[in-house]
């Protein structure tokens, strides 16, 4: 079948937007995350923690100055597309995203992180079977949002199928996730918490919660954040006041017999960027 020229153009525009979003996200932290780190550095009482936070702030400045990625674990890209009503969902869109990831891998450059799960053979371009994960949501403009996710924090993320009677146990589950993680996910972390839905939806909500700005928390999020910070794990697990910069929650309704809770752990380098695709 002949490719529709219009779709090819759209696919190419999406590739360019994906590449630009990756460049932006890998090199510059979002302003809300940077501000939260600066506040933490100003408030921290522990001497070792203060140096860790100072190193982080210096690192952010150096990444910008040298135009290099903030962290060498440039992650695997998690992609969110918003599609306006006049654009149909087609394989060209997915190919556009994949092309953008391949280009960004070569130009930024990104570390090739995507491998076969069993043979561990590297695809060398950060795309592969089922990767990157692309989530599509209806919207009024065509935009691409990238969330490059590092493995250190992803590996300690956790999902629990709690009982409906255990809603009061959610703060404990969240704090326990961080207790089990310790310094491994590069704290200070941001926790995305998904409550409700199904086994898979809770995890998706937890990841989507990481897209929310962290300059505000509601009362419930603050309660979860306080429970985590009371642990005193501190930056890099070396102790201190700052274990979590923020906790963000997304909820969905769920089966009357279920209470899924997912905690997606995000290191301090909470990289995300959105670019609109110009048509």
């Amino acid at each position: 079948m002949m490719a529709n020229p219009a779709d090819t153009t759209l696919s190419d525009a999406l590739a360019g937007a994906t590449e630009r979003a990756l460049v932006e996200s890998e090199i510059r932290l979002p302003p809300d995350v940077f501000a939260a780190l600066r506040r933490a550095a100003a408030d921290e009482r522990d001497a070792i923690a203060r140096r860790e936070l100072a190193n982080i702030l210096e690192n952010i400045a150096l990444a910008e100055e040298r135009q290099v990625p903030i962290c060498q674990d440039t992650g695997v890209p998690v992609i969110y597309l918003t599609l306006p009503p006049d654009i149909g969902l087609s394989p060209d869109l997915f190919e556009g995203v994949r092309e953008g990831v391949r280009r960004a891998t070569a130009t930024i450059p990104l570390r090739p992180n995507v491998v076969d799960p069993l043979t561990r053979e590297n695809t060398n371009d950060n795309t592969g079977a089922g990767m990157p994960a692309v989530h599509v949501i209806p919207g009024d403009r065509l935009t691409v949002t990238v969330l490059p996710k590092g493995a250190g924090s992803e590996n300690v993320s956790r999902l629990g199928m709690l009982l409906p009677s255990q809603a009061a146990q959610i703060p404990k589950f969240v704090a326990e996730t961080m207790l089990l993680a310790g310094g491994r996910p590069c704290p200070p972390v941001i926790l995305g918490v998904g409550i409700g839905g199904t086994f898979d939806l809770a995890a998706a909500l937890a990841k989507e919660a990481l897209l929310l700005p962290i300059d505000t928390m509601d009362e419930y999020e603050q309660e979860l954040c306080d429970a985590v910070n009371a642990l005193g794990i501190g930056p890099m697990g070396l102790g201190g006041d700052t274990t979590a910069l923020a906790v963000k929650v997304k909820r969905a309704d769920c089966h009357t017999a279920s209470l899924p809770v997912a905690v997606n752990v995000q290191c301090w380098a909470c990289r995300r960027a959105t670019v609109e695709v110009k048509r």
């Binding site: 140096r51 990444a63 290099v68 990625p69 903030i70 326990e176 310790g182 005193g232 794990i233 070396l238």
Partner: protein, 185 residues
């Protein structure tokens, strides 16, 4: 204290929580490099060496970024390096009690701030590579370091800052959620 490789007995005087800098040659190694070294031998002189848990981004013979990776993945793969004379492990997140014992009287674990890949690269020069066929992240890169800012995470006397903090966190957790000390992990 300012440390310079090759390292010697000066590392034995360090205590968990001390802040140091380290200069000189260091060698990156992650999971695959450890496995290869166990099979084929260590390609560099391990006496007094510092091994850096890191998978850098390299472009045109230059280190673009080179922050530390999670050291715990190498818990079961580390003993042979210490036995061969390696004096310092550099990484993030700490290591398990078996490594704390292997380090005792011989070597230290130094923590570099996780995610600080641009900061690390700004203080490093790429000198060479072994096992390049393992791929960019898993190869052993030879690096000249210039005053890396490090915290002694595990000293040569069994002192383990990560474990001490973790124990405190566990106590806090149990108090806050009213759990008997022996009922939860």
């Amino acid at each position: 204290m300012n440390l310079t490789t090759p390292l010697g007995d000066e590392v034995l005087s360090l205590r968990a929580g001390d802040q140091v800098t380290l200069s000189g040659t260091i060698y990156t190694a992650r999971d695959e490099a450890h496995l290869r070294m166990m099979e084929e031998g260590i390609p560099f002189d391990p006496k007094g060496a510092a091994v850096y848990h890191c998978g850098p981004v390299v472009q045109d013979g230059r280190l673009v970024v080179a922050g530390p990776t999670t050291s715990a993945r190498m818990n079961a793969l580390t003993g042979f390096l210490i036995d061969a004379g390696v004096r310092a492990l550099i990484g993030k997140g700490g290591m398990d009690p078996s490594v704390v014992e292997q380090l005792r009287g011989r070597a230290v674990y130094l923590a570099l701030t996780g995610g600080c890949a641009a900061l690390a690269a700004a203080r490093m020069t790429l000198k060479g590579v072994y096992f390049e066929d393992l791929g960019m992240a898993e190869a052993v890169w030879v690096i000249e370091a210039d005053r890396l800012p490090l915290t002694v995470g595990i000293d040569a006397h069994g002192g383990d800052l990560f474990e001490a903090i973790q124990q405190k966190a566990k106590t806090q957790f149990h108090q806050r959620f009213n759990i008997k000390q022996d009922t939860v992990s």
